[in-house]
Every structure is written in structure tokens, then in C-alpha cells.
Amino acid sequence: MSTEFDRQAAAVKADLKRMLDAGCSFADARLYDEDRTERLTLYDGNLETNYGANERGIGVRALYKGAWGFAATADLASISACFDKALANAKAATMLPGFPKDMGPAQPAKGQYRPPVKQDPFHVPMSEKLALLSGIDAGLKDSTVAHRYVTAGFQRRKIFYWNSESTEVDRWQLNTFGTMAVMAPDAQGRTQRRTMELFCNGDGTRGYEWLSDPEAFGGHAERVRKELSEIIAADPLPAGKRDVILLPGQGFLQVHETIGHALELDRILGYELSFAGGSHVRLEHIGKLRYGSDKLNARAGIVLNSPGTFGFDDEGTPQRDYYLIESGILVNVLSSRTDLAEANAKAGRVAVKESGTAARACAFYRTPIDRMTNINIDAGNDGTLEDIIAATEDGVVLDVPVSWSIGSNREHFHFATEIAWEVKNGKKTKVYKNPTYHGHTLEFWNSLDKVGSKATWCLEQVPNCGKGEPNQIMELGHGIPVMRFRGVETGEKE
């Protein structure tokens, strides 16, 4: 006897064929059989968020005469109507044609992806989760701490993908997030904060067992609390040009904003201009632009334990690992299949050979766009954090973003961090509060002169990367070593 899902799958396949018969060159569908989330937040010991959700529905794309149409519905009894709507939208789009979209040669794929998970968080009793969070919360309590919070977030998605090239992909995604933070006012009344996010070295698993591992999360409560008390007692970071050593907790943001987003092909082609901005990178830069010093090796990587690892992207392309920047030279960009033909035609050469497997959508009701996967920096051979500090005459070690702001083409940035440790003559001396640093993207990355070894490398999770119209929140990860940059403007001058 056929199940409801079988009927839906049959309907999708029939409609994909119908789209080809109607003149489409390509069509695809993503059916979210399940998209579950759970969020728990303890704020000052009170369970302020105790929330579960599930989303179910289908999103359909149709490519007609080089123009895209998309439609989505939560009504799985109306799959054919959804295809019709997508086709109608595509036909409307042909009224103002641009470079005709083309998916290139067919790339049929079949496969399944399952993330490494030992203990599905949705099978863990709520009482056990709350006991874990309460225990961590207790560890954050202190007379100097004014406010504290601990959060856990879980996602489980079961997504089926089909396209008109006979691709059939069945994949699950499961992610676990955790944050703890303490806040207190300093002598000037300014709120200071110290935060810790669930992180890993790239290995391991993504289930509940990760969150409950004290080394990865809960065991850091005492350090976090202690560092806040040091920040409160500290002086503000004096303004000045000095070396900046970024721990992975801040380095991930630097990579995210000034490499990841800047290398998304849709931005480079101008498709994000009206919203989150474009990119300083141009097609002619690919293969030529010195983006950073020769110490810089950035890749769109596959990391076992990361929300940026998903097996197949939302065009059914198997995820692959490749360099974006190799020895400081820009060699590739983040892309889907959709924009390759346009990019290469405009570049007048094959600037981007194949999909960067970056077509991703955050929900069944959003269409895939070019987005970051795991944008990682390869570990270097400059040793440990201590080695890099020992080699630094005048600098600061910075960790965890407080605020981030970047120019619309991602050339100039201004970041504030939670904590700075002063480095003088090869020694960590004291803590400073209110650190900020700012700079210009290429100049900054070209000042990179120390990259820590694999022991300094860790994967920071990003559960909330926003992009697109309508906007989409996406999850990913950044594997980052300790990095040193020379002569950076730090602090704020009046």
C-alpha cells in the first residue's frame, strides 16, 4: 500500500516532467517532511524560552526561457498547483529578461546524507536537557554577575529533493547549538559580557552528546565567569595601531564577513545589491587577486561535525571541498550552478569551472541562493597561541564579537569584541575592556603574518547568518586557527 509520502513523491515526479513538457529547461522540488526546532533559554535561572516548532511543506522552482519562478506551499495536497504557480512566476519573469539562466550540462545524482549523531536531541527528555542547562547556569552564578543566560537549540530536518535531471536526494540535517553568557556593569555603568559557544575541532558528532560534553561546553562556565570579572576590572583599550591576534572566537567573524560573504558569486554579479550589499571582488579578480598574504589559505571545506556540512546542496550537487584563496591568491568563489554561465560569459573565460555546492535555502518556503558553507582557514605552521604571543612585541589578543559592521561592498569594517589581552614584548600582560578594531579588507588580510598550527584550529558554529530577499537565516561553521595581523587600528579615537 502506498504511503502519503509515496503519493507526494509520485506527484512531484509527474509535475517535474510536466514542467519540461511545458517548455521549462529545468525544474526542481524540495519537500520538507520534517523541519523541527527546539529552543530552550534560561535567563537568570528562569526558563524564558521553552519552544518547539515544526514546518512541513514544499518549495518548487521552474526555469522557463532562462527565467526562474519559485512557489511554496504548506498544503501538500496541492503540489501540482504549486508547480503551476512557479511556472507562472517564471513566465512573468521572462518579461524583463537578462542573461538567460542556464543550469549547464545535466548532473544527475542519487544519494543520501546522514550527519554523525549518537543521541538525537529530540529523543532526550526535556527534564534531562533542563537539568544540564540548570547545572551550567549554576556554574555561572556569582555575586559579580548581574545577568546570565544559557541556551540550547536543536534542529532536525528531513528533506527530499528531486529535479528534472532525475536527481533524487534524501538528506537529514541535525544540528545542536549552545551558548552561555554572563553580564555585569563596569565602574562606568557599561554592560560587559563574556560568552561561550558550543564548539569543536571538526571531529566528533552533532547530537546531544556534544552539548553534554563538559570539554565542549559546560566545563567552560567557570572560565567565562572569571574572565568577565577581569573585564569589569579592566581599563578600556587605548586607541592605537598594534598587532592583532584573533582567537577563533573572533577570527570566524572576520572570515565570515570579509571572505565568506565577499566571495558569494551572486553578490559579485550584483544580485544582492538592493539588500545586504555587493562585493569588492570582480570576476576578473578570480585567479589573480592577491587577497591576503601568502599565509592565507581559505577553503569551502567539508568538516564532519559542522552545520555547514550537508552532503548535497539544494540543487542536489554533492558537496565538495575546494580552495577559495590559496597562498593569498583568490582562486575560486562560492557558487551554485545557476550563475556559472553568466559569470563565465561576463568574465570572457571559464572563471568558475563548477558549482561551489553553495545553493542553499533555509526553509521549504525560501529559494536556494549562493551561501557560505564551511569557510575555513587552513592551519599554519606558526605554532601555538603562546608561540605567536611570544613573537609579538606590541599587540592584543581579541575574542568574541560584540558588534560588527561592514561597508556595502565589504571593503571596510568595524568590529568590537568582548575582551582584549594586551601583549607586550612577547608576554600577555593584562586584560582590556571595550576593544574595537577596524580596517580595510584586502589591506587587513595582507597583513596576516602568523597562522597557528592545527592545535589552535577550532570550528565555530554560526546559527544565524542572514542573507537574501526574502531573508533567510542559515547555519554554517568556520574552522579557524589563531591568526596574527600586523599594524591594525584598534580602539576608538575621539
Binding site: G45, N46, L47, N50, Y51, A53, N54, E55, R56, G57, W68, F70, A71, A72, T73, A74, A77, K85, A88, N89, A92, A93, M95, L96, G98, F99, P125, M126, S134, A146, H147, M183, G189, R190, T191, D266, L269, G270, Y271, L273, S274, G277, H280, E342, Y365, T367, S403, S405, I406, G407, S408, N409, E411, H412, H414, T436, H438, E469, P470, N471
Partner: protein, 459 residues
């Protein structure tokens, strides 16, 4: 009123909750929306979404739990399941150390005054035709490319709880049009933006005229790289809306104020916060905003003065913060408030503003705004579309990307002029469910001594 089929299901779910002795709140949300996205002078994407969502919250004493589903909400079984999950979450919850406020629909609301069927049904074809007219008229004038988006649609919100039999319903339509013209070699970008409450509120000719009026300054002059210093800045509409948003967050949000994280935390109602020229309200009756008539705890929303001629009057309390700090909630349990910055006395119109400003930077939009220090109201952002240098009251050159790093009290403290004309500005977030939000803002403010902290070599 909500479609009978759905309403009956939700009322039955409420009856079911009562039968089980549960205190439950039901919040139904439905959107029918569409968007066209332009890129490289063509329609890069045309989308439409039809989504229904239901949030159920169950409260038992000091415990609460919630569940949300996005699916085709047509079966009593699904609703029963949602109620069951919320109740289970509630049962497993930890008790709070205060008494949370349970939602009560204070008075029945059935508001479709903001609904325009023509805007709900606005087709991708109609949108494309308007955009095509602009592209066809302006593109041949230079090496220009157009991008942008036009989203529109309807939103329904329905809220009931087991506390009484009242129902709160509202249905409205909105649209947001953004079009960007980019010069392909020189890389400057111009933007035209419109907030829409009804179909046919603006025309292609109107947008063409706006671009044409700006183009000469950009075509005839190289980019101007300003200096790092305190300068006079004339902020345009999007920037004013951004500054108002930062002000609300950094000065009037109850949680921030109570926890001493707001820049107003050392003040109490009655104290001076800003100069006399600044009046801020949360006013659902203002014709420029979308006017949310109730919040999602069932409170009726009425005009509320937050800052009266510079004097701090009211702090905003959502129900959670109000319960925690034993304050009165201010009907602020929503994502779509109706904030208004009152007009001033300066002449209406951007051109009148630049004449008044004389020598200044015109910054109509702020990009990537962040607040490193809310306790001082310190924010940072960079200039973007349409930014120009004003010299002797004239726009004379496009402005290279310039960073502002200053505090809200300093910027508002330096206000020398506020336009006497206010306009609607769509600030709807699109991260989550469609929740139309607009601010009523003066079309410009002029401020002295705004700190420019960095300048890029490009736009």
C-alpha cells in the same frame, strides 16, 4: 473576520483546551505574499508563498511551554497535537521565580481596514511591467544596471485565549519596493524606495523622475572622500528610521532599561533625554504606520508617548519583562510596533533640507548598523545609496563610503533641523513570518557634530 473554516477549528481547539483545564493561547498567522527580485536589469527571481502558522502557548502557574507549526492547518487532529505538545512542554518546564502574565483579549477586534484586495493580488506581471518601464527609460542613459525587489502580500493575524471568548483579528496588505541603479564602471549606486499600503500608490514615472533628478550629480562629479572628523550630516529617510530604531532599542525597551543596559537607564520618566525638538510615540493611529490594533497577549494598542519634547515619558514593557519587574505591560508583545518621530518645523522636501544644511554630508541610508555599547548608545554604520556632499546648499558630488561611529544622545543632541513633513517608511523584517511594520519619520533631520570615523576609497 478570519475564514470560517479555520476560525471554527481554532475555536474548537480553544474549547478542547478548556475541557482539559488548560490555560492556552492560540496565535494564528497566515500570509499570501509574492516577491520579484531584480538583478542585472532583469527579473532574477519571482516567488510566491502561501503559509499558515499556528503558535500555541500553555501556561500553568509559573510554568509555560510553546509549540509552533507551519503547515496546512485544516485538521482538528493537527491542532489537538499542537496543543498536546505545548502542554507537554509546559509540564516539563521549570517554574519561573515570578508570575508570568497570561494572555487575555481585552476587547474584541475585527480590523480589515488596512486590507486592499488589489494589493494582495498584485501580480508579478504588474510588478515586472512597472520595473521594465523604469529600466527601459533610464538604462540607455548610461552604463547602468538595475537590481532591487518588490515584495507585497497580505497578512492575517488572529489571537484567542482560554481566558475569555473575545477574538482579536486583523488583516492587512503591504508592499515594499526597492530599486537600485548601479553605474557599472564607477560603481556608485542610487536607490529608490517606496512603502505601499494600497495598490497603485506609485508609478514608474515617479521612480524615473527620482533617478533622473539624482543622476547629474553622479555623472558629472567624481566621488568625494570626506575626512575623519565631526561634521554636519543631513540624514535622509532610511537613516532616520534606522536611528529611531536604535533609539527605541537603546532607550525604551523595558528589559534593557531595567537591567541598566540602556543609555536611558540612569533616567526616570520626567527626566530630559533629548532636546526639545524630539518627540517619539508608539502610535497605531498614525496614518503613516500599519497600525497594529492589539498585541499577542490580547492588549488593545493605543497611542503612547515615549518621549515628549525631549522628556522621557514611558518605557515599553512586554509581558515577560512586566511580570518579572512588576510593571504594567504596554501592549508591546509583538514584532510590529508603530513608532513615530514627530515632525519639526524645517521646510518640507529634501531639496529644502539641503538648502538649509548649506555645507554637510547627506547620508540617506545607513548600512550594517550595530551598537557596540547600548549603555552609551554608541553605534557604528556606513553610508550607502544616494549619499552626497552638500556644498552651499547644493548636492555637488557623490560620497565615498563613510563610516559613522557616534552615540544616539550625541547625534540627537546635535539636531538643528527636522523636516515638517513625515512619511511612512517600511521597516518590515523578513527574517521570519511576514509582520508588516512601518515607522512614521520626518523625511530628513540635520545634525551637527556627527562623528565620521573612517572613509573607504570606494562607494
Amino acid at each position: 473576520m478570519l475564514e470560517k473554516r479555520i476560525r471554527d477549528l481554532l475555536l474548537a481547539a480553544r474549547a478542547d483546551a478548556r475541557k482539559q483545564g488548560l490555560e492556552a493561547e492560540f496565535n494564528f498567522h497566515r500570509e499570501r505574499s509574492s516577491l520579484i527580485r531584480l538583478g542585472n536589469s532583469s527579473v532574477a527571481l519571482s516567488t510566491s508563498e502561501e503559509l499558515s502558522r499556528l503558535d500555541v502557548t500553555v501556561q500553568q502557574g509559573r510554568k509555560s511551554g510553546a509549540y509552533s507549526m507551519t503547515s496546512d492547518i485544516t485538521s482538528p487532529t493537527q491542532l489537538a497535537e499542537a496543543l498536546k505538545v505545548a502542554a507537554t512542554n509546559c509540564q516539563a518546564a521549570l517554574a519561573k521565580d515570578y508570575d508570568p502574565i497570561f494572555g487575555v483579549v481585552e476587547e474584541a477586534v475585527d480590523d480589515s481596514t488596512g486590507f486592499d484586495p488589489a494589493l494582495e493580488a498584485l501580480s508579478p506581471v504588474a510588478k515586472t511591467e512597472l520595473c521594465k518601464k523604469v529600466v527601459d527609460a533610464v538604462k540607455p542613459m548610461g552604463k547602468y544596471d538595475f537590481s532591487g525587489s518588490w515584495s507585497s502580500g497580505s497578512t492575517e493575524m488572529y489571537y484567542i485565549s482560554t481566558a475569555n471568548d473575545n477574538e482579536a483579528y486583523r488583516r492587512l496588505t503591504d508592499g515594499s519596493f526597492i530599486m537600485v541603479l548601479k553605474e557599472q564602471d564607477k560603481k556608485w549606486e542610487l536607490q529608490a524606495e517606496r512603502t505601499q499600503k494600497r495598490a497603485g500608490e506609485f508609478s514608474a514615472d515617479d521612480v524615473i523622475a527620482e533617478f533622473k533628478a539624482m543622476l547629474p550629480v553622479y555623472e558629472k562629479n567624481p566621488g568625494y572622500k570626506t575626512h575623519v572628523d565631526r561634521q554636519r550630516v543631513m540624514f535622509g529617510p532610511d537613516a532616520v528610521a534606522n536611528l529611531l530604531g536604535l533609539t527605541i532599542w537603546g532607550a525604551f525597551v523595558g528589559r534593557m532599561w531595567e537591567e541598566k543596559r540602556a543609555f536611558s537607564s540612569n533616567l526616570k520618566p520626567g527626566d530630559r533625554l533629548f532636546p526639545e525638538s524630539v518627540t517619539i510615540t508608539d502610535d497605531p493611529t498614525n496614518p503613516n504606520v500599519f497600525g497594529m490594533p492589539f498585541d499577542f497577549k490580547g492588549s488593545r494598542r493605543r497611542p503612547r508617548i515615549l518621549c515628549d519634547k525631549g522628556i522621557l515619558k514611558t518605557i515599553l514593557y512586554d509581558s515577560g519583562t512586566a511580570a518579572k519587574y512588576k510593571r504594567q505591560p504596554t501592549a508591546s508583545d509583538l514584532g510590529n510596533d508603530d513608532f513615530c518621530l514627530s515632525p519639526g518645523t524645517a521646510p518640507a522636501g529634501i531639496d529644502a533640507g539641503r538648502k538649509l544644511a548649506q555645507d554637510a554630508l547627506y547620508v540617506p541610508q545607513l548600512h550594517y548598523v550595530h551598537m557596540p555599547d547600548p549603555t552609551k548608545g554608541m553605534f557604528t554604520c556606513s553610508s550607502r545609496f544616494n549619499a552626497r556632499l552638500i556644498k552651499n546648499g547644493e548636492f555637488v558630488a557623490p560620497l565615498l563610503s563613510s563610516r559613522v561611529t557616534d552615540t544616539i544622545p550625541s547625534v540627537f543632541g546635535g539636531i538643528t533641523a527636522i523636516s515638517s513633513r513625515t512619511i511612512p517608511w517600511n521597516v518590515s523584517g523578513t527574517y521570519d513570518r511576514r509582520s508588516p511594520t512601518a515607522m512614521s519619520i520626518p523625511e530628513y533631520i540635520i545634525c551637527d557634530g556627527v562623528r565620521i570615523s573612517d572613509v573607504a576609497d570606494s562607494f
